[in-house]
């Protein structure tokens, strides 16, 4: 079995009366593409928030490469090699797409300069390549604010890739992207992840996407993991079909 990259043990959190995580145990293995599915409000995004330090669990722990990262700050966790793409794209809207990417590059490099121009960073060609990979290279000089939601989602993913992560967490990576383009983009993305040896976890609603791209699926339900298995196993489970997929 491959190395365990991310490991969550006994995660619990509640918001007022809502239990968003009720004893979550999950290991993410190196090299896999793990899909998280489940109904709205099951706690999928909460799991990503806890894994990246945005929320602090009330009980339980998260470790990454054997190191405890529970309640560390998002930036500390990012530096260890976990990058995140968001459900609502999180961009620097007043800056151009390329500037967004170069800020990511400068962050990765550390000790950002206050004198040299951002545009002269040597990572520029690499950032262009990443924008090209997700299909938004033509918008590199446009302000992020001017672009539609679908393009912003893709830039959001490119920003995460710019960090050269070991693990990439994606929250509904292709929601908001035109359905005719979804598969094309995911094909490229999953291939690129494999090539650059990036492990991924993605929250997804579209079962076709899960079937096609996930190597393993975890089913969330009311703050608990209901089932984990290969896409075929999970999608064949009648309980999952009824509660999650709604067939």
């Amino acid at each position: 079995m491959a190395n365990v990259l991310l490991s969550a043990k006994g995660i619990k959190i509640r918001f007022g009366g809502v239990i968003a995580a009720d004893g979550i145990d999950l290991d993410v293995h190196e090299g896999e593409n793990l899909a998280i599915i489940g109904p709205n409000g099951a706690g999928k995004t909460t799991f990503l928030n806890i894994s990246t330090g945005y929320l602090r669990p009330q009980a339980g722990s998260v470790s990454f490469l054997g190191r405890d990262i529970t309640a560390q700050l998002p930036r500390t966790i990012t530096k260890l090699g976990i990058a995140r793409a968001f459900q609502i794209p999180q961009l620097f809207l007043d800056q151009t797409v390329m500037e967004n990417m170069l800020i990511a590059a400068a962050s990765l490099r550390g000790h950002p300069s206050g004198l040299k121009a951002l545009s002269s960073l040597p990572e520029r060609p690499e950032m262009e390549r990443l924008l090209d990979l997700v299909g938004v290279k033509e918008y590199a000089e446009r302000k992020a604010r001017e672009l539609p939601e679908g393009q912003r989602k893709l830039i959001d993913i490119a920003l995460a890739l710019a960090l050269k992560p070991k693990l990439l967490l994606m929250d509904e990576p292709t929601s908001g992207v035109a359905s005719s383009e979804k598969f094309g983009i995911m094909d490229i993305l999953i291939t690129a992840l494999a090539k650059e040896k990036v492990t991924s976890v993605f929250v997804e609603h579209d079962m076709d996407m899960v079937e096609r791209y996930a190597s393993r699926v975890a089913v969330w339900s009311m703050g608990k993991i209901q089932k984990v298995g290969t896409p075929a196993e999970v999608l064949a489970d009648p309980k999952v079909r009824e509660h999650v997929i709604g067939i």
Partner: protein, 318 residues
């Protein structure tokens, strides 16, 4: 976007040339321009913080720190030189900025503004109340200093301080421009649009803001030292919150999106005050208020934004 800023840089160069030459023909302008330049330097600092979406209602604390460093030296040590005063003002305000900054960069928006205000009011009341050391509200006179050992007559001195101010202002203008173009400067702007993402890129927004804050305190101190030398006095009023408000006003008037906004705003402000304030002394503040409202409602990018009104703000918030 670089192309868009070029005319503004040109405008800045023209402005600096006018500031250098015009007072040679109209002597009373020497002090006027020196004041404009000194205040612009302070306002550059406000503009830096505006990039991060933060408004400091207490920035006069660094201005007054710069002013009193010169005043205290004159009062307790005696003698003095423009260069020495500037170094003292720069060092004291930078150190003070670092100390205050370590606290305030943890806060945003109104909390940032109010904490700055609170710190500045503490300093102001100390200057006002510790009469024994500070002469209280009367302030401390700053005797006309020399420059690198040379002494000047009052007539020459007004030109000396004008050109010193001009040199520093030019350096500050290009320095700030360069900083805003750099990764750190872009990160500062990123704090305004999406601090969460910045943290998720592995960068500490607080550190980025701290660097900006300290630079801005440094600029405030330099400006304060210059104004104290130009007006030959430092009073607690230099550090009162209405002074901080005035700097913010000038930044908004000129336009917070570009470094030249500081100069455009300060020039407009001081020129109007120089010529109109005497006649309109009773209604001066009222006029400023109306101007500010008109700018905010109809030209939110300030004077330098009048040419290209971008409509991004219409799209709504975040």
């Amino acid at each position: 976007m670089a192309g868009r800023f070029k005319p503004i840089t040109m405008a800045a160069v023209v402005f600096f040339l006018v500031a250098a030459v015009a007072p040679l023909f109209v002597p009373s302008w020497a002090t006027l321009f020196a004041l404009i330049l000194a205040k612009s330097i302070v306002v550059l600092g406000i503009i830096l913080l505006l990039q991060a979406g933060q408004v400091s209602f207490g920035h006069a604390m660094f201005f007054v720190t710069g002013a009193y460093s010169a005043a205290f030296w004159g009062k307790y040590v005696g003698g003095g030189d423009i260069v020495l005063y500037l170094v003292l003002g720069a060092v004291s305000s930078t150190v003070f900025g670092l100390i205050v900054g370590l606290f305030v960069v943890r806060y945003r928006e109104i909390f940032f503004g109010m904490l700055n205000l609170a710190f500045s009011m503490v300093l102001w009341s100390l200057l006002e109340k510790m009469f024994h050391y500070t002469n209280g509200a009367d302030g401390i006179r700053v005797a006309r200093p020399g420059l690198l050992g040379l002494a000047f007559t009052p007539e020459t001195f007004q030109y000396v301080i004008l050109y010193v101010s001009l040199l520093i202002a030019i350096a500050a203008f290009f320095g700030v421009q360069r900083y805003l173009d750099s990764p750190l400067g872009h990160m500062l702007r990123a704090i305004k649009s999406n601090e969460t993402r910045l943290e998720y890129l592995g960068t500490s927004a607080r550190r980025v803001l701290l660097v900006g804050y300290v630079i801005s305190a440094f600029l405030g101190g330099i400006g304060g030292t210059l104004v104290a030398i130009i007006q030959q006095i430092a009073t607690p009023e230099f550090g009162y919150w209405t002074k901080s408000g005035e700097f913010v006003f000038i930044a908004i008037l000129g336009g917070g999106a570009h470094a030249f906004g500081a100069f455009a705003g300060a020039a407009m402000f001081e020129v109007v005050r120089f010529y109109a304030a005497a006649q309109l002394a009773n209604a001066w503040q009222l006029i400023l208020g109306v101007v500010l409202i008109v700018i905010i409602l109809y030209a939110p990018n300030g004077l330098i934004g009048l040419r290209q009104r971008d409509n991004r703000s219409k799209e709504g918030g975040h």
